[in-house]
Symmetry: C2
Subunit: 463 residues, 2 copies
């Protein structure tokens, strides 16, 4: 069908031939009097709707006047500028074709619905202002991530989702299987015989693409992943989902400083891209979801991010006189309350915390000279706490082997990962960004279920 999108009408008005144009979309509201009426129609291409004016000269005037909220229509008419009204123009209809009716039991009648209720009709919620805005921002932010890395010639690597190793040990994993659930084949010991399973061994859904990404960084130097990851944790919180998307860049010939610079540049790029390309959506969030979010994001985009070591951060927290629910001491894992105090009250801007105790970080992080801390960094941002976690990786084979032995990790499970240190290894670094957390940060939405099209959580896999 040849139609003009409402986005084009608003953004490139002067290019639009104003007579006899056709717009197709869904009815948001209808108001009518005896001889004329107005329809707000939204076609999903733009946050704002288009006002349609129709008169009783239409042959189907009565049917149009009775249209339900949600109905699909195709309108032909002339665009009329209305500089003195709240909308810049309206479409005077010469024809309205009803493409799809919408009955009164349509759940999205014109009134406010709670986010909880809308989750139950997740297949319809993108048609609301809030979720239309959330999922458009999600789409734009995803593209901004790709644009940022591609313009720097990073190679996008599709690391595998099904994995036969739990290399990171980062959390509970889902098993992937085609075995008969009731009568699986068994070994002599009575264990399930995974040799008979699809992949010839036990397989799971990945918790991170990092180790695979490191193999690519040793070939392409600058690479990133952007794909789904999974955690089978039964935490029913507003911040946890079983399926979520992660971005994991990995850079060779690079140290922790390079890593932080990259993270800072990326966050600023994405914020600027979204502020520029989702003006209407961001204004909506600022007004209805999180007052002040625009100012906060603009501030972040122009601030120099702070730097503080973990040791200094602990001292700041110990001396600040604030009562925390979780006690602070050297060696403790920083909780969200600590992180938010640091970034919101102490630094009043995003801040990188570096050089964490090795005990609370992963085995592959590079040991610092003190033998106690590792070259890790977390980026804390106001309103959220931790947004990014990264590190320089341990490239020294002996040090890595020693650390793995300490933690009881088996060399044979990591043979190819260790080989990366044997065959032309280099200093390298990377980080992980949870994409949903970024979207929460950009929109002000506070429940992860409200930034994923069809969220998967404990007991929940609807749609």
């Amino acid at each position: 069908m040849q139609t003009t999108s409402i986005r084009t009408l608003y953004q490139r008005t002067s290019e639009v031939q104003p007579t006899n144009l056709t717009v197709a979309g869904w009815v948001r509201t209808v108001r009518d009097s005896k001889t004329f009426g107005f329809i707000e129609v939204n076609d999903g291409t733009f946050f704002k709707s288009l006002q349609i004016v129709f008169e009783d000269t239409l042959e189907n005037f009565k049917e149009v006047a009775k249209l339900g909220v949600g109905a699909a229509i195709i309108v032909t008419g002339d665009l009329v500028m209305t500089p003195n009204q709240k909308q810049p123009f309206e479409l005077k209809a010469t024809q309205i074709v009803i493409e799809g009716e919408c009955p009164p039991e349509y759940p999205l009648q014109k009134k406010r619905h709670s986010f909880e209720y809308l989750r139950q009709i997740a297949y319809l919620r993108p048609r609301t202002n809030t979720f239309g805005a959330v999922f458009r921002v999600r789409s734009l932010a995803a593209y901004a991530i790709h644009k940022f890395f591609q313009e720097r010639s990073f190679v996008y690597a599709h690391t595998p989702l099904i994995t036969a190793s739990d290399c990171e040990g980062a959390g509970e994993m889902f098993r992937v299987t085609t075995l008969d659930p009731v009568h699986p084949p068994k070994t002599e010991n009575g264990e399930v015989d995974f040799k008979e399973d699809f992949f010839g061994k036990m397989a799971s859904l990945t918790v991170s693409g990092q180790l695979s990404a490191e193999t690519f960084a040793m070939a392409f130097r600058d690479v990133y992943t952007f794909g789904p990851t999974f955690r089978a944790e039964k935490s029913n919180t507003p911040r946890h989902a079983a399926e979520f998307w992660m971005i994991e860049p990995e850079i060779a010939f690079a140290d922790l400083e390079d890593d932080m610079r990259l993270a800072e540049d990326m966050v600023k790029f994405v914020i600027n891209y979204v502020l520029e390309n989702a003006k209407e959506e961001m204004a909506f969030f600022n007004q209805f979801v999180d007052k002040g979010i625009l100012e906060r994001l603009q501030g972040v985009a122009s601030a120099d991010f702070g730097r503080v070591t973990y040791t200094e951060a602990v001292q700041i927290l110990e001396k600040c006189g604030k009562k925390f629910e979780y006690p602070v001491y050297w060696g403790c894992d920083l909780q969200t309350e600590h992180e938010r105090y640091l970034t919101e009250e102490h630094f009043k801007k995003p801040v990188f915390v570096t050089n964490y105790p090795k005990e609370i970080k992963a085995f592959y992080m590079r040991m610092n000279e003190d033998g106690k801390t590792v070259a890790a960094m977390d980026l804390l941002v106001p309103g959220i706490g931790e947004l990014i976690g990264g590190s320089q990786r341990e490239e020294r084979l002996e040090v890595l082997l020693e650390r793995m032995a300490e933690l009881g990790l088996k060399e044979e499970d990591y043979w190819w990962y260790l080989d990366l240190r044997r065959f032309g290894g280099t200093r390298h670094a990377g980080f992980g960004l949870g994409f949903e957390r970024l979207i929460m940060y950009l929109t002000g939405m506070t429940n992860i279920r409200d930034v994923i099209p069809f969220p998967r959580t404990t007991g929940q896999a609807e749609f």
Copy 2:
């Protein structure tokens, strides 16, 4: 580290400050005589390598001369133009720091390796010319897909991977579970009690995001997915993988014609983007992997794609006088040999085959007026056969219900999908593009295992 990428040296030579610059990368070859030597170094940012010239004035001349293939080095020196040699410039080293050695047991010594062998060391193969080129093209093609849709204001939807419904019935699925494999909880009937599983019911990995994408198209009008999909088929062929990426656009207020136009525009856009941004890689494929691929792709990018109905295509095949392995008759599913004959020998260009018998297509495809065929389309391209499969979707509730009843599909399993036809439904269409098949098409690689970083197939989930 402050370094200059070899990509910058080649592509933006004039911007490079030629003295005292630093390049970091991996040794491809070393040749030395008593007082000087040459190193080809590749840093992964560009297909071509950089020639380093070093002399015995270097304090570590002996170590450098003995460097193994694959070693990581950091070279500082001056760029010297060499217009009369095969490379346009070389770097005269004033310092070479050895970042990471590479011993002689490194499996990628300078010689040709078979693709089969390289699959066994998939963690190293991106360092070779062929796989470096394949995975850079893969990255660029992925970005081109996003760029194409985003520039047309399509919304990118992350449809779920874990699903509790096998809606498409498109193939064998992997089960996703956290139940004890040996002693799963059971119901009174002795069946596994999936109520006790993580999601409270049996869950699987998705075979397609289409049905979810349709919900988004009914909100945003133009949307696309780009994510992993899974098939648990035990077909051990060069064309099948258990985990692969798919692109699935879905457009509302659109019919089969609009769908084909979109597919044609997208394919041409991606080809042009890759030809322009991977010149060196494409020249390599043309010379070493698939002679003539450049000409073929350029031809496709400038041809008008053909159109033929299934019924006409069957007539062409019946009359062509060629012996096929599989017989051709009205109602048969076209095999690759038929598809390739049509596109390569008959039309000699890409061709859309439309209006297939309903029996060989999915339930959601729109019934044509003849009651026998559906508004489906497959795009056939030379060298591959089917590249894209799509259709206009059945938007008429009664017709869809009738078709589902014929096929024994239960309404309650599709309640939300059917609701899309109740609440402001519109004509709409979409298609699916297997991303790996596109990469094979763009590179001339003939085994799907060679276009996926770490392929997953029956019995294979290494790395």
